[in-house]
Every structure is written in C-alpha cells, then in structure tokens.
C-alpha cells in the first residue's frame, strides 16, 4: 500500500511540475497575471479567499477532539491566534499524513501545521516557517522494561520499531545506541506503540510531543513508559507552506512573532504542558 502511494507521489509530482509549467506559459487565467509572480500570487490567493486551509491530523496534544467533539490542542489554538494576526480565517482540514505534500501542491490545503519536523528534504520541497517548538525522539517500552534500557548492550536482541521515514527511524538506523537491536518500520507512530503494547516489538521510538498526549494516565497505553533519561536527535517543528511563497512566509513568521510578543504563545504552551519546548521568545 505504501509503495503504491510512493509511486503515485512520484507520478503526481511529475504532474505538478507539468502543471507549474502550464501556469507559467500563461494558459492559466489566475496565475498568468503579468505583474504577479508566483510568490505574490500565493498570498493573494489565500488573502482573496479570506481563509487559510490548515492541514492537520489528529494527535494529542497538538490537534484533537475534546470530549465535546470540538477540535482543540496546542496547534489548534496557536493557529487560530496566528491566523487572526494574518487577517484570515483558519479552516482546519483533516488530511491523510501520507498525502500532505500532494494536498499542499493541489491547493486543497494552504499549510501543514501539525508538529511537522523540519528536515532538509522538506525544506527543498516546501517553505517552512521559523521553528517554534523543539522536539526529540524518545524510547517507549513496557513500564517494567523501561528502566533497563540504559546501554546498547541492554538492547541486544530486542526489536525496535518506528514510523517509516520518520525522525525516529533515522535514529534507529544510525544511532550507535541501537546497533545491537533489530529494526522494523511500521506506517505510523501509533502502530509503533501498538507493536510494543502487544509485545511484537520491545521498543518504539516516537516523538516526545506525541508521547505526552498518547501515554497519558487512563489511556490504553498507560502500561507503557517513556525512557525520560535518554533523548535522541533533537529537532524542530515548523509550519510548511508551498514552495516560493515568500510573502506568505513573511506574513506567517511576523504573525508568529506577534503572538509570542503578546505572551499568548507561552500561555497556550503552558496550558498543554509544552512550555519547556517552546522556541519563539517574546521580544
């Protein structure tokens, strides 16, 4: 299934390149405006609509449904504040995480705002905002085993799982700490946890941020524990928008700073217990 998507992505990217060419040759009425370069047109496209479609998936504590079925979370509230500053209405659109780049290029969403880790590969394909939050990869294991995972030797013969193509996978494959473990990739972080929970794997490497929401007291994973002492591969979260959208990027970064300056960002982070990880300081 993954392969199909991967193949299709390649195909669709080829198509999107063609589509880009089509636009620049002036066959497309909306983008062939002589004065409007592509960079300007992305912001005017969003501004004309008056709304910014924000691509999200649900995961606690970033974006999730509360008990009343209302969308909430750190990113949700953060995005609402930022959009207010930008003068557009936020519209949250749930997407399939595997299709986020296609969604962005197809303009079915205007940004990806969901704990997106900034990587070089992503920076090549998309414009990414200033980093606003720090994240790290952590090990998760059954509570009774978690304390023993102190050295590479202790992991010898154990099975380690992580989401395919994630930062966690990078860690599992490259970090010396895991050299004696056997690595298996799965298609999502929640699957990785399920593997550990069911005993088919011993250690999952997931986002620290995700572990906060998912391993909370009262969840089905409450018998799993984060190995707090050891973190890997610190990384940063950013908001992704379409490539070469300079104006949109500037507006976005300015708005983020403005929200931080007012102290709102800090307030929201505290609410979701994420204030330690915040990167944008009030000036």
């Amino acid at each position: 299934m993954k392969k199909i998507i991967a193949t299709l992505m390649a195909g669709l990217m080829a198509v999107s390149v063609l589509a880009g060419c089509g636009g620049s040759t002036g066959t497309d009425s909306k983008t062939s405006d002589v004065n409007a370069g592509k960079t300007e047109s992305d912001w005017s496209y969003i501004a004309d609509k008056g709304e910014m479609v924000i691509g999200i998936t649900y995961f606690e504590p970033m974006n999730y449904m509360d008990d009343n079925g209302k969308l909430t979370g750190f990113e949700t509230e953060f995005a609402e504040k930022v959009c207010e500053k930008m003068g557009v209405t936020p519209k949250f659109q749930k997407i399939d995480w595997d299709s986020k780049e296609v969604e962005l290029n197809a303009k079915t969403i205007d940004c990806i705002w969901n704990g997106l880790t900034i990587t070089d590969e992503r920076k090549e394909n998309m414009d990414i905002s200033t980093p606003y939050m720090e994240n790290k990869q952590v090990m998760v294991a059954k509570a009774d085993k978690a304390g023993k995972l102190t050295s590479a030797d202790a992991l010898s013969g154990l099975t380690v799982v992580a989401e395919k193509k994630s930062a966690g996978e990078e860690v599992a494959k490259t970090d010396e700490f895991f050299k004696n473990a056997e690595y298996v990739s799965v298609d999502s972080q929640s699957k990785a946890l399920l593997e550990v929970k069911s005993g088919t794997a011993d250690v999952a490497i997931i986002d620290y941020v995700m572990s906060i929401g998912t391993l909370a007291e009262g969840s089905d994973y409450s018998d799993l524990k984060v190995v707090e002492e050891k973190g890997f591969s610190p990384e940063q979260y950013g908001i992704a928008i379409r490539k070469n959208s300079t104006e949109t990027l500037k507006k976005l970064n300015d708005a983020i700073q403005a929200v931080a300056d007012e102290g709102e960002l800090k307030k929201i982070a505290v609410k979701y217990n994420l204030d330690d990880l915040l990167l944008v300081e009030a000036k």
Partner: protein, 216 residues
C-alpha cells in the same frame, strides 16, 4: 462507560460516511453499469472497444489510486483552480469503479441467456424492449444476484478506502482514537462492518429465495 458511549457515537458518525458512500455508489453505479455493459456488448466496434478499454483501466488499477487521481489531479493540473470536494471525489471514484465491475457482471448475465429465449420472443411478435423487459430481464436478475451480492458486500468494506483522501470515515476515526491512546475502537469498528454485511447477507439470501420459484 461514558467513554464507550462517546467512542460509539464518534464511530457511528464515521460509519455514516461509509453508509453514505455505499448508498450513493449503489444508486448510481447499478444503472450506470447497465449502460456500460450495453456499450461493451455493442455491435458498433469503436464504442465496444472504447468501453472495453475503460473497463480494463478501471478494473486494472487500484481503487485507491483512482481516488487519488480524481481528487488530486484536477487541482494539480489547474493550479488549484478546480477541484472536487473530498466527498464528491470519493463518490465519483467509487461510482465509476463499481459501475465497471457491475457492467461485467451484467454482461455475463445477459450473454448467458440462451438465444432461444430471444427468438421465442421474436416469433411471438414482441418488440426488442418487450423481449428485454418481459423475457430476459428477470432471468438475468436471477443469474446475477449472487455475484452482485458479493460485489456489494465488498463495497461496504471498500468504503473505508475513502480515508486516503481524508474522508472522516469509521476506520480513520478509529485510528484517531489510537493516536489518543485508545486501541480498542480500532477493533470495535469491525462490529459496524459485520453488522452491516450481516444485514446485506440476509437480504440477498431472501431475494435469492424469492427468485427460486423457478429453475433455468
């Protein structure tokens, strides 16, 4: 208990999407399939080959891919100026896909009716449409009920593929719960499918029994 109630309610909402796709697909694909089968049995060769190619492409590619194509290709080609809504894209892909499958079942059913039945109608002075509706149709229906039933039950489960273009259907809902730390909704969602398919199975065995009054 309250959690169970909340999850059930959410999943039921998701299953509403599945049911909606299911019903609309059936309503549109069943008649459209008949039109397609007419094309593939046409004596006009270009139409026949066009239809056959269409059926080949639709049956020869994954439905998941078709969902992607219907939803993402129009905006990619038009630089975001044109796109179907997610649910419309899903409906278009499902209707086209299932019409192709139904058309082949229809064709098989229609071609299995002996020529003698048509000729008997002809020598009795019936028109083409009288022969089709009065003589052939019910015999075809009897023949195709089992394979159609099979296909329809597959459709119930295929509807969850709509999640690849982010339709909030039941499996996606259940996966979201697992992101929030609840695993059991994922397995609980199977119950909805089982129940739905169980009802369909009963319905189809009832229809089959109704048509069992004659053989041949």
């Amino acid at each position: 208990m309250e959690q169970f109630f909340n999850v059930s309610q959410q999943l039921l909402k998701g299953f509403g999407e599945n049911s909606f796709i299911f019903i609309i697909t059936l309503l549109l694909a069943l008649p459209l399939g008949l039109v397609v089968s007419m094309g593939s049995m046409s004596k006009f060769k270009p139409l026949k080959w066009l239809t056959k190619t269409f059926v080949w492409i639709i049956r020869g590619t994954p439905l998941m891919l078709q969902l992607f194509v219907v939803f993402y290709v129009p905006p990619l080609l038009s630089n975001g100026n044109f796109n179907f809504s997610r649910i419309n894209a899903a409906l278009i892909a499902f209707v086209i896909n299932y019409a192709a499958y139904f058309s082949e079942i229809y064709r098989g059913g229609i071609e299995s009716i002996p020529r003698g039945q048509y000729e008997a109608g002809q020598v009795l002075g019936m028109t083409r449409s009288q022969i089709f509706f009065r003589v052939v149709l019910l015999q075809v229906v009897k023949k195709i009920i089992p394979p159609i039933g099979n296909e329809i039950i597959t459709l119930v489960k295929d509807t969850s593929l709509a999640s690849v273009i982010a339709i909030p259907e039941i499996l996606m809902m259940a996966k979201d719960f697992s992101m929030q730390g609840l695993i059991w909704p994922l397995f609980y969602s199977a119950l909805f499918f089982l129940l739905f398919c169980g009802i369909l199975t009963l319905l189809f065995s009832f229809i089959e029994k109704k048509l069992n009054y004659y053989k041949g």
